[in-house]
Symmetry: C2
Subunit: 277 residues, 2 copies
Amino acid sequence: MDSPQGAFRRATAAHRVAGSGEAATYRAEVAPGWDILGNANGGYLLALAARILSEHLDRPDPVSLTGHYLSPGRPGEVSAEVGTIRSGRRLGTASTTLRDPDGTAVLAALGSFSDLSHPSATDSPSRVDATPPDLPPPERCIGNDPGVAADLAGFMDRVDLRIHPDDAGFREGMPSGEPRVRGWFRFPDDEPIDTIGLLCVLDAFPPTVFNAALPVAWVPTLEFTAHIRRRPASGWLACEFTTRIVSDGFLEEDGLVWDCEGHPVAQSRQLALTPRA
Amino acid sequence: MDSPQGAFRRATAAHRVAGSGEAATYRAEVAPGWDILGNANGGYLLALAARILSEHLDRPDPVSLTGHYLSPGRPGEVSAEVGTIRSGRRLGTASTTLRDPDGTAVLAALGSFSDLSHPSATDSPSRVDATPPDLPPPERCIGNDPGVAADLAGFMDRVDLRIHPDDAGFREGMPSGEPRVRGWFRFPDDEPIDTIGLLCVLDAFPPTVFNAALPVAWVPTLEFTAHIRRRPASGWLACEFTTRIVSDGFLEEDGLVWDCEGHPVAQSRQLALTPRA
């Protein structure tokens, strides 16, 4: 049984089993308890791929990382061959595919990694035409309630989400009408959130479309891209997810995460399918 | 010398030189004349990779495609090893890296392709919280003017851009103050724009940040992701590019393209570096 402390970090552990340098094979485990209805959460899976790529490139921080979701991630062992595509001064780029023991591709990932601990651009131009979402304090937002969402018990026990009350009505059949979800995120027991943890944050909230009053039952993610701008300060993260265009069987969902010092730390966009309910 | 008819199509031609099925090697040419200051346009390069992936997967339409830009694309031959990661009923997923003759990686790409000619989702739920940009007719927008932008002559001779007059002042040192660029796009001589052509559209306009009055001289793209929603109707495409967050040495630029029938056909987001001027 996991101790909660460091649970995310341990659930994304990976080790090299063969190779080195340009190409290597890694093994990791899709940990039990990070699933929703038996399928591992997409952000968690992307974080697992990120941990492998980060170790392979020996660079701690994903700057831009894309994953294509190919089949459900079931708890158990996965293997991943990693190839370095380029290793430059500031950035390293590599790709990998997480595979089940039977060779089925679960997630294909391509990313560029760096070390964001020493920003090379502290004097870089800045302009932010956005503000953190206007959220009530966490204790007045809607937390995970196993009574309401027993189906989600696995993953939802691993994260501490607090959804804006105005955006949580869909759980009782009262969607807000706006395809938007805002809320706070932290790991339980104040486990620190590194830049790989941000990948989990970016895909932890309920789909925006649940608030749109559309006949959409589920929204399987086809592709997810995350941009990490900086390491977050420790503390609650303020998150906002929005969707503008549901059309032709697809929707995009954009995420933006702010740390408690008011810095934008991560952006995401995913493309999901919208099968009719 | 190219005849203008079909110039884009020919400039993105690729042929298989070895292998088949799961893994193969392709050869293509970074065509002269698609560059800005000697470096091939990023959207054009991504389209070249898309053509290779599309041929390999035998699926015509990129649904989601990501490229990481690793070194400048110079005119001349490139080779690309392609590996199929998954081939499903609706989607096929593959990755490739375009390499110079000396093996230098130019562009790494990962994408999922489909056939959008028969939308499987004609009755899918729809909600569009966006409208096409409010553009004057093309003849009252600002076209490519070699006298103003002689440096850009290569690529800018290959596309017919018409920038909204309110967004074109940066060319005379009068940025609008808003990091936004709106305009029309078509290929010269009415060359049809397929879904791979849309990749070129999504990266053809001047950077939004040129209108932001920030001390940024150039914005090298690190990563670019395009989502294609549907095949565009023939005619002018209405395009809008915006940036919300310039911070910590990076910016994102979001693109949205509408066809002349008012359908959103493509979305993009890129992450670029913002070195101080």
